[in-house]
């Protein structure tokens, strides 16, 4: 009986995701008449601009949202289980702040040293920004790994993570203070998050990196389940706590780093989605929670992307504004319902 419910639940999320994905392709600030959509799909003779908008602009954006949503949600789940803290998310390890610092250094410092305004340090700035975010995130990740391999106490690790986040944040602020206006503007916009940064050209690298990370998470479910029993039990069951936490941090940090590198620091998805998964499936079994969280993360990111590009609205809302705006009420209602 329970299995049937689970199967239906998962199927429901997948169907919802598919509908959202299709909506993402066909709804946007430019209205595409319904019959034109079929013409585009059937590659019939049609206005070429629609093809470009749907295949070269909306499709990569929807795919980015899908992958980023899955990656952030599952990274959040890993953090929450590892730290046994329902408020844990990837930003807690200082990884997002590390990425921001990396980007800050590229956008802001290069401007300050050379006196050249604006992030657009030529064409490589777009690539440079992603690379800097990744390097920043990975640096913090290694620092955290070094601590986690020495320490068993998860609370201490959370505090260290938060401190590193503050440290990185303050260095970023100092950089901002000495930077040129255009650079700060560029940095602020990057910080708002966007799913449109990947595009068709960078999609293969982005997708491959994310899929590799997501794939690894499936192997962690057994150890995550053991961790839920508490560290003492887990050790008694033969789990190497330190090695295990290093692996979990590595996988979750890797996923966060990639997403932040390409989409900016996207908040909330990592924190909220695991709660929704736990509530919907009333389970703490990671063999179920990992795929469920990924799928819910995908759906959520697609909803957000859809709202950010509302039809009839010429501009693109910042993704970060939308994720929290949509996500926060959902999480509150989920928590209230589960406490009843």
């Amino acid at each position: 009986m329970k299995n049937r419910k689970i199967v239906f639940g998962i199927l429901g999320i997948i169907i919802l995701g598919s509908i959202l994905f299709i909506l993402n392709l066909f709804v946007g600030s430019v209205t595409v008449p319904l019959d034109d959509i079929f013409k585009v799909l059937l590659k019939e003779n049609t206005d070429n601009t629609l093809n470009v908008i749907i295949f070269n602009y909306r499709l990569p954006q929807a795919l980015t949202a899908l992958l980023a949503g899955a990656a952030l949600a599952v990274a959040g789940l890993l953090m929450q289980t590892l730290f046994r803290n329902p408020l844990a998310d990837p930003s807690m390890l200082g990884i997002s702040s590390g990425a921001s610092l990396g980007v800050g250094i590229v956008i802001l410092l290069t401007g300050a040293i050379s006196g050249t305004a604006v992030s657009s340090f030529g064409w490589w700035s777009t690539i440079g920004v992603s690379l800097a975010a990744f390097i920043g995130a990975v640096m913090v990740l290694f620092v955290m790994l070094a601590f986690s391999s020495r320490m068993k106490d998860m609370t201490t690790l959370i505090i260290i993570g938060l401190m590193i986040a503050y440290l990185a944040g303050s260095i970023t602020d100092i950089l901002k203070f000495f930077s040129l206006k255009e650079d700060i503007h560029a940095f602020v916009i990057w910080g708002m998050g966007s799913f449109s940064g990947v595009g068709t050209s960078k999609m293969p690298i982005f997708a491959t990196s994310i899929i590799i990370g997501l794939f690894f998470t499936f192997f962690l479910s057994k150890n995550l389940n053991i961790l839920l029993l508490g560290e003492m039990y887990a050790e008694n069951l033969g789990l190497n706590i330190r090695k295990n936490s290093v692996i979990i941090i590595l996988v979750s940090g890797y996923l966060t780093a990639i997403v932040t590198a390409y989409c900016g620091p996207i908040a909330f998805v990592g924190l909220a989605m695991p709660h929704i998964a736990r509530f919907l499936f009333k389970s703490s079994d990671h063999r179920l929670l990992i795929p469920a969280t990924m799928l819910i993360g995908m759906d959520m990111a697609l909803i957000c992307n859809l709202i950010a590009r509302m039809p009839g609205f010429d501009g693109n809302l910042p993704v970060n504004a939308v994720t929290a705006f949509i996500g926060a009420p959902i999480v509150i209602s989920v928590i209230l319902k589960s406490r009843k």
């Binding site: 946007g28 600030s29 430019v30 601009t49 470009v52 908008i53 070269n56 602009y57 909306r58 954006q61 300050a112 050379s114 006196g115 050249t116 305004a117 604006v118 657009s120 340090f121 030529g122 064409w123 777009t126 203070f177 040129l180 206006k181 255009e182 560029a186 916009i189 990057w190 708002m192 966007s194 799913f195 449109s196 940064g197 595009g199 068709t200 050209s201 900016g264 590009r309 609205f313 010429d314 501009g315 693109n316």
Partner: protein
């Protein structure tokens, strides 16, 4: 008792200020005298006795940003101006917030009056760089963070500031003892209105004859070129700028650059929009509306040159635009051309650059663009 005293004082103040003969005279003078500014929307200058009366209005609401009197320092100040904000001319120590301010002093040969500038990192002007190095001009920080102590030490009589809401003008004015003058040039949406602000520097330095001549020449050149373009049969379409993180920030249809496009005999794709500010527009909207536009105007703020290949690497969506495919992209290298310092006072040259691109037959064949040139670099 205290209250009573206060009320008595207030009433007497009101009585005096309303009934004083000097004030009546002043209003009468103001009503009669002619506005010396022809194209500006946010500044009015009128003659007042041997000086000038200036009113700067606020672009965001109907309130005034300030009323000022300029009065020659060789003459005795009329009594009624004792309580007003008065700038004695010619000014001696000026702090300039933006390059559009000091560039006029420089052009007039009056740069020695400028003692401090802001945002000095942005300038490549060799003369200013030399003066900064020789400490004849001080770097007074940036807009968001003024080096207040240095500013006080310069004993400015006037600080020309850009009227952002974040500038703590009262505090800076109190600390430095200077008159804070809002220089709202960048908010003017007519190219000639923006250029006309140079006349203010003329009044401040008692060089109004020179600046009047300077400005009138600009108007003549601008208008004659505009006139030639007025009746062109074919008006090419044009759009502007590059996106950041999927979002285009396009100039509004009533903006400065939209006006120049229009005067240069082109149709800006967003000309029907009546905003003066920039519009955040989704990339797909730009693609659907501007894909077939004939020209594409781009600002390059880096030190390196753009090329078609570099644009394609930056975003492959660019390659779908007709202006890209037909190699009709107009680029301005901001730093190299001194765009922010000079273009405001050379709107005729800006206009000519665009006319040269849109209607080359209307401009001499060997014309060399000053700001916007057609991008030819492939790699």
């Amino acid at each position: 008792m205290k209250n009573l005293l206060f009320i008595c004082l207030s009433i007497s103040c009101i009585l005096f200020s309303c009934g004083g003969p000097s004030n009546k005279d002043q209003n009468a003078t103001l009503a009669k005298s002619e506005n010396l500014m022809e194209y500006t929307s946010y500044i009015d200058i009128t003659n007042y006795k041997s000086g000038y009366y200036i009113n700067v209005s606020c672009p965001w609401n109907d309130k005034s940003l300030g009323e000022f009197y300029l009065y020659p320092d060789t003459l005795q100040l009329p009594d009624e101006l004792e309580t007003k904000l008065v700038i004695r001319t010619p000014v001696k120590n000026v702090i300039a917030y933006s390059s559009t301010q000091w560039s006029v002093f420089l052009e007039l040969g009056e740069i020695s009056r400028v003692k401090g500038i802001l945002e000095s990192d942005y300038t490549d002007n060799p003369e200013i760089k030399r003066l900064l190095a020789e400490k004849k001009i001080e770097d007074v920080g940036i807009e968001t963070s003024l080096k207040t102590e240095i500013a006080i030490n310069l004993h400015p009589d006037v600080i020309l500031y850009t009227p952002y809401s974040t500038v703590p003008k009262t505090e800076i004015g109190d600390l430095t003892g200077a008159v804070m003058f809002p220089f709202a040039d960048y908010l003017e949406n007519h190219p000639l209105g923006r250029a006309e602000w140079l006349k203010l520097i003329g009044y401040l330095t008692c060089r109004e004859k020179d600046t009047d001549q300077w400005f009138n020449d600009i108007v003549t050149r601008y208008d004659s070129l505009k006139y030639i373009c007025q009746n062109v049969e074919n008006r090419p379409t044009v759009f502007s700028d590059l996106p950041f993180e999927g979002q285009w920030y396009l100039p509004g249809g009533a903006s400065y650059i939209a006006q120049i496009f229009h005067d240069a005999g082109a149709d800006y794709i967003w000309k029907d929009n009546n905003s003066t500010a920039s519009l955040p527009v989704d990339a797909e909207t730009v693609l659907s509306k501007a894909r077939d536009a004939d020209f594409w105007r781009i600002m390059n703020s880096t030190n390196t040159e753009y090329s078609y290949n570099r644009l394609a690497v930056e975003n492959e969506l660019y390659t779908y635009f007709k202006a890209y495919q037909n190699r009709n992209i107009l680029v301005c290298d901001i730093r190299r051309s001194g765009y922010f310092e000079k273009s405001e006072y050379e709107p005729d040259l800006l206009l000519k650059d665009f006319v040269f691109a849109f209607h080359p037959e209307l401009v001499e064949t060997d014309y060399q663009p000053h700001y916007f040139y057609k991008l030819t670099n492939e790699k």
